[in-house]
Symmetry: none
Subunit: 218 residues, 2 copies
Amino acid sequence: MNATQPAAIRLWVVEDNATYQDALAFSFKTSGSIELTRQFFNAEDARAALRAGPPPDAILLDVQLPGLDGISAISLFKAAAPAVCIVILTVFEDHRKVFRALCAGASGYLLKTAPAERIAAAIADAVAGGAPMSPSVARAVLGRFVELAAPGRNTYDLSARERDVLELMTQGLVKKEIADRLTLSPHTVNSHLKNIYVKLHVGTRGAAVAKALKERLV
Amino acid sequence: MNATQPAAIRLWVVEDNATYQDALAFSFKTSGSIELTRQFFNAEDARAALRAGPPPDAILLDVQLPGLDGISAISLFKAAAPAVCIVILTVFEDHRKVFRALCAGASGYLLKTAPAERIAAAIADAVAGGAPMSPSVARAVLGRFVELAAPGRNTYDLSARERDVLELMTQGLVKKEIADRLTLSPHTVNSHLKNIYVKLHVGTRGAAVAKALKERLV
DNA sequence: CGGCGCATCACGCGTTTATGCGATTGAACG
DNA sequence: CGTTCAATCGCATAAACGCGTGATGCGCCG
């Protein structure tokens, strides 16, 4: 399909290595879908530019920078331009750094070992709502994710309906609201609550909510 | 570089839709780097084969299957062949399902909207140690990851004492118990509770506990 | 078929909570 | 030195809650 070409992605690059900057600029020139509108050699300048004028669609950001480091820069960039997609491009694969960058608001994390086409594709991916990462980075994130998100093994034999009720409890709803949300009588919700309390071995709403969230029952 | 061609990835596919199976088989035939060695139409047969013989390098697994569903199958596959890379390929984008699949041991998660080349690339990626995901899935995982890994920076200006009370609330204690634990009058606890509710913008104990735990305030 | 678990609904009682209205103290800050 | 604010305590009331004790219908399974 040769649809009308979509507007090119306006990209800024923040990278202190001039040679690498040039290489990137060259590869984007041939890519077509990405328009490299500005280049910076440190994060401060990029930040100032963000605050001064219209933001780009995406920023390709190195971590190792003179002065303000890349990871700290992420939050600042996001504060100045919340909608901008920040993709990290670095040689560092240190997991701590990776996680901090992502938590600070980065949309993607690439290693400089990635081929040029992959970098262009990743930027497009990030702007389109994805989260491009180099394979090893993705695997590390996934590993940590599983560690954090793995549901507790204790299911406490809650029925499906009881889980529904429990979930709404964790959203702070009161009995009547739960009843309305599930189209039930408040009496029925009462029954479910009682059963939940018995199964979770708790006696109060707060304890039930706490147990549910701590043990990831919902 | 035309190095000697690496050994093709031995792949099994578990997918109940015969037409889609054929389409996949065709696309892999043209890909070259992937050798589709076995095809199954349900998870039970695949599991039996895994237990019986040598495992493949990767398994492409649908979620919606007759009988044993794909997500439950992941753990079983992993138990039978820990080294195998499991890549989910499904139409479902339900986040709960995605997270459960990844926690169960899947290495990747693709939507069936992905183009054929992307699927082949993803399998190679997974075998090479990556974690291929469709953009929207990756973003959802990243979002949840940040939620879990990033301590909530919202402190809501809670005072030290209020945090004490909040923490005890998250342990399921009632007002009187909190008072005893902190050697306070129940009236004082009452005051703290009121202030906490105001600062957290909630109106009930359950909501306060939920917010505290979800946003890592304690 | 007959039990069993689940979901649904119902009532009542005593307790806890949420939320008004206060007050006094003491530390912090300009 | 006066103001501010957290921390402590007091009280009253209406609403929500916890908990016991029911009942009815439905589907499943041996």
